[in-house]
Every structure is written in structure tokens, then in C-alpha cells.
């Protein structure tokens, strides 16, 4: 039997850049095939070629032994190739049901069959274990994780033979990932072939059957068993071994000075009375499920939203509520959850992005552009940003380097409290290690760091103390060197297990 998908020596050239320089791999029906590679290895280009969004320069793509029309996304979709992209492409104003059936709405005669649309959408969501999402909700009211679920439901609404998932777990927390895996396993059992892209190496063994590794636009290893040791995969990806992912743990980190203090902060409905302290030099992690109120808590602390009650103190001084400008002046910095839409001006140069929070120090009457560039260059090179050319437009950088630009902004500002929301999302493993080192260095220099992350291993690896949030309140606290993923997850999930819901659907 022909493989479900066969890619033969695929090449894609852009003006000046060869994104793919010969990729071979195949996916069998019912297989979950993981695609691994650092940012820029060509993974996104490869799946765009398969889904028809991008026309390859040379090479062949066969679906069930027959050539797939190139550069025609709707033809690919008709043949049963569905893709869930890294950047979710949902329309905010549409409802869930409308999004699931966008452009192939069920009809009765010339009219939309709204009842069937809602009913079918509900069924698809239930199949994903998320029947709590109401098909009539608008997309803009959903958190990123729920949007991801809607995207998957949309892919399922087509008669899918090959499902491509580009980092579906990047915005999910560990509890939801297990739900997602359950769905993927069931699709595979139905004979659907799945291409699964992720930066999280531990996921490969949990979900994958085989692995193909891309590096610099080539497939450097193809069809390896999922049990391949992690070190070997990392070496293939980066061409060298990453010596150590997490920095050395320091003993007795943090001083006695409480740098950030939060007292009974409430911002209903998401944050229901949170008190915490972060000492200078300490890295405190904030774990919990997506939607447990972690991002909202950071926004309240930073003054982007106004709390209903409670106060925030920096270095012992109370911040006025809901004033981000004052919080920044007091030494706070925030690297937001979504770098592209909240952290950066994508069309601006690195220099301007870095200096934006601290332009005052370059202004003596007029802005001293030369001093600005020099100061920024120093910080960019300290963070090993690639490229170090401060005039490069931020849109062009990889996720990891974009995150470094955000961090450089707060380094330049000499911030005393740094709030990081999912700082390594969508970042490859080598850059992750660099970011962890930067965080450790900042803490060593006396900055108080509060990190939100859905990767429990990451929290344990870099935090001196970990807090777990559930339904808007802190429910657990543990020292980083004593924490276990299992324990954190237990405290993060609500007493009512969502796994039961999956059972019902079966």
C-alpha cells in the first residue's frame, strides 16, 4: 500500500534564500509522524508546500500514491489535507460554529442550515472533549487554548486524511495537552495520518510513532522511531549537543528584600484574591492551567487592567492601580504572552523596539539617535541576538530572537521586577537554553522575576519557588528543587477531572 503522504527531494527557493534544500519523508495511514527542527529549519515552509499554500520550486508530493496539485490550498483540502497553523487564523467576530464551517457551511436549499451547523459543531467539539465550548460563543471571547480547539474542530469538519498540526501544544497547558493527545490518538486509530510539529521533545515519545528531523532545510534523519534518545535528537537538530538546558541552581537564591509584593489582588472574574511576594534575586514560577487567571494576574500587577481590590507594592512603595506607565517608572517590565501582537512593533527596527520604554534617557532636547543605537546594540549583543544589526526589522526575526528583543528592552530599562508570560513559547531548544541563562543572570543581578509558564519542566528547571494557580487563586507553593511535575499538575487541575468528559464521548 502506498504511504498516505510521500515527499521526495522537495526544494523551495525564495529570492536569496533556500528555505528547503531537499526534504524526503513519508507518513503512513494511522501514523503520528513528528517533525522536529530548530526555528528556521524549514518546517513551516514544508507544511505550507504540502497544504498547497506555497508552491515548491522542485520535488514531488504524493498523497496515497497520486501527485498532489501544488500551490492550490483548496485542492489540497478537497483531497483531505487539513492544516492547523501555528498562528491561528480565526476571525474574531465569528462564532465558534461559523468558524468551524467557514466556507463550507451546511445548507438547506439556498439557505444556511444553522441548526445543523450548531449541532455538528457541538459534536466535533465533544469529540475533542471540549463540549463546554458553546458553538454560539464568539471567537474573540475565547482564550488561545480554546481557539486552538476550534481550529482542530475545523480541520475535523473536513473529511480529513492527513492532518498537519503546527505546534498545537504551544499554547496549551499540560492538562489540555493530554486531552489533545487523546484526540490525536483516536484520529490515528481511525486511519488518519498526522504530521505533528513541536518543540517539546518529551511530547514525541508521548504521542509520536516516528520522527523526521529537519535542519537547515534538509531532512537530516527520517523515519526514526519515537523512542530515539532525546540527546540524539537534539544533536541532530542543532548539529551539536546542547550541554545543559537549565542553568545551575543557585543555593539560597534571593535576598531578604521583598521587591514585589501583591496583597489580596482581585480582578473578577479571573483573579480572586491573590497575595504573593517575590524577593530581589528570586525567580518565582506561576504554574496552572491555561485560563486559571495567570495572565490576568500579571496584567493587574502591571497596571494594564484595574483591579477591583488589593494592592501592588514595588520595593515597598504602593503602585497606583491601573497605571502601566507608573508601574514601568517604578521598575516593572512585562514580556507579554503574545510577543507579536502585544510585545513588539513588527515593522520597526530592533533598536526602536528596545528603546521604546526608555526613550527619555536619550532625549536632551532632541533624541540622540546615535547614543540610542549604541546602547541598544550593547544589550542586543549581550543577549546574543541574531542578527545583532539593530536596524533589522523585528518581523524577520525568529521567535526566540524576538523574545530577546523584548528582554533587551527591560534590560536597558534596568527594571527591578520582570514579569514573563510564557517566555519560551514557540522557541527552539537551543534558544530556550539561552533565554533561561538570561533569566538566571537577571536574577543574579538582583531582579525579581515572576514567570508564567505552562511547561512544568521549565518551571522546575528555572524557578527557586513555584506557585500554582487554579480558578483565580493560588492553591499551592513549593520550592523549585523539591517540585515534581506530577504534584504540580495535580494541584493545577480542578477537582473535577476533565478526563471524565472524554469517557462520556466514547
Amino acid at each position: 500500500m502506498a504511504p498516505r503522504l510521500e515527499v521526495r527531494s522537495l526544494v523551495k527557493e525564495y529570492p536569496g534564500v533556500r528555505a528547503l534544500e531537499g526534504v524526503d519523508f513519508e507518513v503512513q495511514p494511522g501514523e503520528v509522524h513528528c517533525l522536529l527542527g530548530p526555528n528556521g529549519a524549514g518546517k513551516s515552509t514544508l507544511i505550507k508546500c504540502v497544504s498547497g499554500v506555497v508552491e515548491p520550486t522542485a520535488g514531488e508530493i504524493l498523497l496515497d500514491g497520486e501527485p498532489l496539485p501544488v500551490g492550490d490550498p483548496s485542492a489540497s483540502l478537497r483531497r483531505g489535507v487539513a492544516t492547523i497553523y501555528q498562528e491561528l487564523d480565526l476571525v474574531e467576530e465569528l462564532t465558534v460554529a461559523q468558524s468551524v464551517f467557514l466556507a463550507h457551511e451546511p445548507r438547506r436549499g439556498p439557505f444556511l442550515d444553522l441548526d445543523r451547523m450548531r449541532g455538528d459543531a457541538a459534536k466535533l467539539l465533544a469529540r475533542l472533549g471540549h463540549e463546554r465550548i458553546d458553538p454560539r460563543t464568539k471567537i474573540k471571547e475565547l482564550r488561545p487554548a480554546a481557539r486552538q480547539v476550534v481550529s482542530i474542530a475545523r480541520a475535523l469538519s473536513h473529511d480529513v486524511r492527513l492532518l498537519i498540526m503546527d505546534e498545537p501544544s504551544a499554547i496549551l497547558d499540560d492538562g489540555e495537552i493530554e486531552t489533545l493527545f487523546e484526540v490525536v490518538r483516536r484520529l490515528a486509530a481511525d486511519g488518519v495520518a498526522v504530521i505533528y510539529i513541536s518543540h517539546r521533545l518529551d511530547e514525541i515519545r508521548r504521542i509520536g510513532d516516528r520522527v523526521t528531523v529537519l535542519s537547515d532545510g534538509r531532512s537530516v534523519a527520517t523515519g526514526l522511531p519515537a523512542e530515539t534518545p532525546t540527546e540524539q535528537l537534539v544533536e541532530l537538530m542543532v548539529g551539536r549537543a546542547v550541554e545543559q538546558l537549565y542553568p545551575e541552581r543557585r543555593n539560597g537564591a534571593g535576598t531578604e528584600d521583598v521587591m514585589l509584593e501583591v496583597r489580596n489582588l482581585r480582578g473578577l472574574p479571573m483573579v480572586r484574591g491573590v497575595s504573593l511576594q517575590v524577593r530581589a534575586g528570586e525567580v518565582v514560577g506561576l504554574g496552572g492551567l491555561v485560563g486559571s487567571g495567570r495572565t490576568e494576574l500579571l496584567r493587574l500587577i502591571y497596571g494594564l487592567d484595574t483591579p477591583d481590590e488589593g494592592e501592588v507594592l514595588v520595593g515597598g512603595r504602593r503602585l497606583p492601580p491601573g497605571k502601566a506607565g507608573r508601574a514601568i517608572a517604578a521598575g516593572l517590565g512585562l514580556a507579554p504572552e503574545d510577543r507579536k501582537s502585544q510585545g513588539l512593533l513588527l515593522e520597526w527596527s530592533q533598536t526602536k523596539n528596545v528603546s521604546l520604554a526608555d526613550l527619555g534617557r536619550f532625549q536632551r532636547g532632541l533624541l540622540n539617535v546615535r547614543a540610542e543605537r549604541a546602547a541598544v546594540r550593547e544589550h542586543l549583543s549581550r543577549l546574543k541576538t541574531v542578527p545583532a544589526d539593530g536596524e533589522r526589522v523585528v518581523r524577520e526575526l525568529s521567535g526566540g530572537n524576538q523574545q530577546k528583543v523584548v528582554l533587551a528592552r527591560w534590560l536597558l530599562h534596568h527594571c527591578r521586577v520582570l514579569l514573563l508570560d510564557e517566555p519560551t513559547r514557540g522557541v527552539d531548544v537551543a534558544t530556550k537554553a539561552e533565554l533561561y541563562r538570561v533569566i538566571a543572570d537577571l536574577a543574579a543581578a538582583g531582579v525579581a522575576v515572576l514567570v508564567v509558564s505552562s511547561e512544568l519542566g521549565e518551571l522546575i528547571g528555572i524557578c527557586d519557588r513555584i506557585l500554582v494557580m487554579r480558578e483565580g487563586a493560588l492553591v499551592f507553593e513549593v520550592d523549585g528543587d523539591r517540585a515534581s511535575e506530577r504534584e504540580l499538575l495535580q494541584h493545577a487541575v480542578a477537582p473535577i477531572e476533565s478526563a471524565d468528559l472524554i469517557e462520556e464521548v466514547r
Binding site: 534564500v17 528555505a19 502601566a324 521604546l356 533624541l367 542578527p387
Partner: protein, 342 residues
């Protein structure tokens, strides 16, 4: 998903690297506009060799261009924040009329200027508050002001214009320095005073936009409001300020216009908003915000002035000119689409 860029942290060769300048394309666009301006002038010189390339005509063109040019600088700031100000033409008329009735039957040049600028700034502030604090969409808020200001201009003197020649002893005569008419018809080293005013505002606008923190904030707010806020930019105050600025500059524009005509008219300034927006867009400032160029706006103003001077000399009617004007603005916006950009 229509993005077609490869994953982008592959180290492209330096020549492929896009710096901000290249991607924004406005340096390129500015060079192109310089060529357009030169070509238009050459075309005029060939088509109308007797009347077009004369010092008189150039002077005339520049004087007329200054009135809209001042508005276009304010409009550049507004559009940089991803806003729009449709009320500038009406504000020019209302400001002129307000200044006019202040000095009618008697008053001083200074009172006229102060009155006109004050009133336009006031109207601009109404726009600003409605948009920044009332969260009215700029298009609607300034469309309302477009109507309100025009109505006020007509009400102030019962639809009649106000003569301002008394400020110059009753006739155009020879305007003394710093008299009102001097701003419209006076010259220094053969160049009209209004042109100096315009150039001064162009330079000030460039410096503020490119060499001050405030200017950076203006463009940041237009580029990504949420990211600007998280970086500590006072978003609301910044938005507020650009509409006040636009009103203030409409006041200056009104002074230049009335000084040239020797009167304030309630029907003046008609469609100036289109001229100003057109000049800004031709210059390369993005209607989506986040990218602004004063140099481009300046060249856009010159381009418009040359085209209309040429058409007037070719005896094309104002109706034809209006069609051409609209078509140019539409074309410029079409060229601004992301796919059409370099």
C-alpha cells in the same frame, strides 16, 4: 494565511537583509517622488513654455501649496496614529470666520491670528476628546466635526464673508511687515512669507516626528497600540495630542488663506481634507498607521501643487481637476497595499 516569507531566522546574506528603511520603503518612495516632481515641472515647461516655468508661477504655486501643506503636516501625525481628520477644511473656514468677526469692525492682526488659531485648536480639541476619551472612531468623530465646523463658519456672520482689508488700511496696497496681508502676499528675498511659514512647519514637523520621544510615541501608537501600551507609551494622551495639533495647524492654515485673500469666507477650505490626506498618502505614510514620513508629505504637497497648476494652465475645468484629484488619491492608496509594496 497568505504570508509567503520563509521562516526567517535563516541567516540570509547581508544584501538580502531587510533593514527598517528598506521594508518601510519610504526612502525609496521619497526618491521616486523627487523624480515625479522634476518630471512634472519639465512637462509643464514643455507644454506651457511661456507661462509655466516662470518665477511668478512657481511663487504662486508655492503660496497656494502652503495653505494645504500646513494641514498635511498635521494630517501626517494623525494618520501615523492610524487615525484620520476629515474636519480640517471646515475648521479652516470656521477659524477664519471666528478671527474675522473678532476684528470686525476693528481689531489688530495679532487678535485675528490669535483668535483663528484659538478657535481651530478648540475645535480640534473637541475631536481629540471625543476620540481619545469618548472612544469614537476617528472617521466618525471628525466627519461630525466636518459638519459642525462648517455650520459654525456659516452661522458666524450669517453666511457672509468678512473683509479683512481694514487690517491693512483698507486696501491690498503694500503690506507692512507682520501685518495680516503680509503673511499672504509679502515676500522676503522674493519668496512669499507664507512659504517660509510652511517650510518652518515642515522642518519642525520632521524634527518632532523623528527626533523626539513624542514623535516615536505617535508612530508606536499607530503601529501597535497594545504593544505601545505595554512598553509604557501614554496611548490616550498621544492620540489626544495629534487631533489638537491638527486643529492648531488648521488655525495657521486659516491665517495663511485669509491673509492671501484679504477676507475670511465661510465656504473656504472646501475639500482641503482630501488634498491634505492625498498629499500624505502619496508621500508614503501608511493609512494603517505605524509608518510616517514628513519628507514624503512635503513632496506629496509639491506633487499635488504642480499637477493642479499644470491643469489650470491647460484650461482644464475645476470639475475635471476634482476627478483627477480623487483618482490620484485612490491610486496612491491602492499602491499602498502590502502586496504592492516593495
Amino acid at each position: 494565511m497568505t504570508t509567503s516569507s520563509p521562516e526567517s531566522d535563516r541567516t540570509a546574506s547581508p544584501s538580502e537583509a531587510m533593514t527598517e528603511r528598506r521594508v518601510a520603503g519610504f526612502h525609496l518612495q521619497e526618491y521616486a517622488l523627487v523624480i515625479v516632481v522634476i518630471l512634472l515641472f519639465v512637462a509643464g515647461a514643455i507644454l506651457k513654455p511661456d507661462s509655466f516655468p516662470t518665477w511668478d508661477n512657481v511663487r504662486n504655486m508655492l503660496t497656494q501649496a502652503s495653505v494645504v501643506g500646513v494641514l498635511a503636516i498635521g494630517m501626517t501625525f494623525v494618520i501615523a496614529t492610524a487615525g484620520i481628520d476629515l474636519s480640517v477644511g471646515s475648521m479652516v473656514a470656521a477659524a477664519g470666520m471666528f478671527g474675522g468677526i473678532l476684528v470686525d469692525p476693528e481689531g489688530s492682526t495679532l487678535l485675528f491670528i490669535a483668535g483663528a488659531i484659538f478657535f481651530a485648536t478648540l475645535l480640534g480639541s473637541v475631536n481629540a476628546i471625543a476620540i481619545a476619551y469618548g472612544r469614537v472612531v476617528p472617521f466618525i468623530a471628525t466627519l461630525a466635526m466636518f459638519s459642525i465646523a462648517r455650520g459654525i463658519a456659516l452661522l458666524l456672520n450669517d453666511k457672509l464673508p468678512v473683509g479683512l482689508l481694514d487690517l491693512n488700511g483698507g486696501s491690498f496696497g503694500d503690506p507692512g511687515a507682520f501685518s495680516l496681508l503680509w503673511f499672504g502676499t509679502g515676500r522676503i528675498f522674493g519668496i512669499p512669507v507664507s512659504v517660509y511659514v510652511f517650510l518652518g512647519i515642515v522642518i519642525a514637523g520632521w524634527v518632532v516626528l523623528n527626533r523626539t520621544r513624542y514623535g516615536r510615541f505617535v508612530v508606536a501608537v499607530g503601529g501597535n497600540r497594545e504593544a505601545a501600551r505595554i512598553a509604557g507609551v501614554p496611548v490616550r494622551r498621544t492620540i489626544l495630542s495629534v487631533y489638537v495639533l491638527s486643529g492648531f495647524l488648521a488655525g495657521i492654515s486659516a491665517v495663511l488663506l485669509c491673509a492671501r485673500l484679504g477676507s475670511a469666507s465661510p465656504v473656504s477650505g472646501n475639500l482641503y481634507e482630501l488634498d491634505a490626506i492625498g498629499a500624505v498618502v502619496i508621500g508614503g505614510t501608511s493609512l494603517a498607521g505605524g509608518r510616517a514620513t514628513i519628507g514624503g508629505t512635503f513632496l506629496g504637497v509639491l506633487t499635488f501643487a504642480l499637477i493642479f497648476s499644470l491643469m489650470t494652465q491647460m484650461d482644464l475645468s475645476t470639475e475635471v481637476q476634482q476627478v483627477v484629484k480623487g483618482a490620484i488619491v485612490l491610486g496612491a492608496v491602492l499602491l499602498q497595499r502590502p502586496e504592492a509594496r516593495l
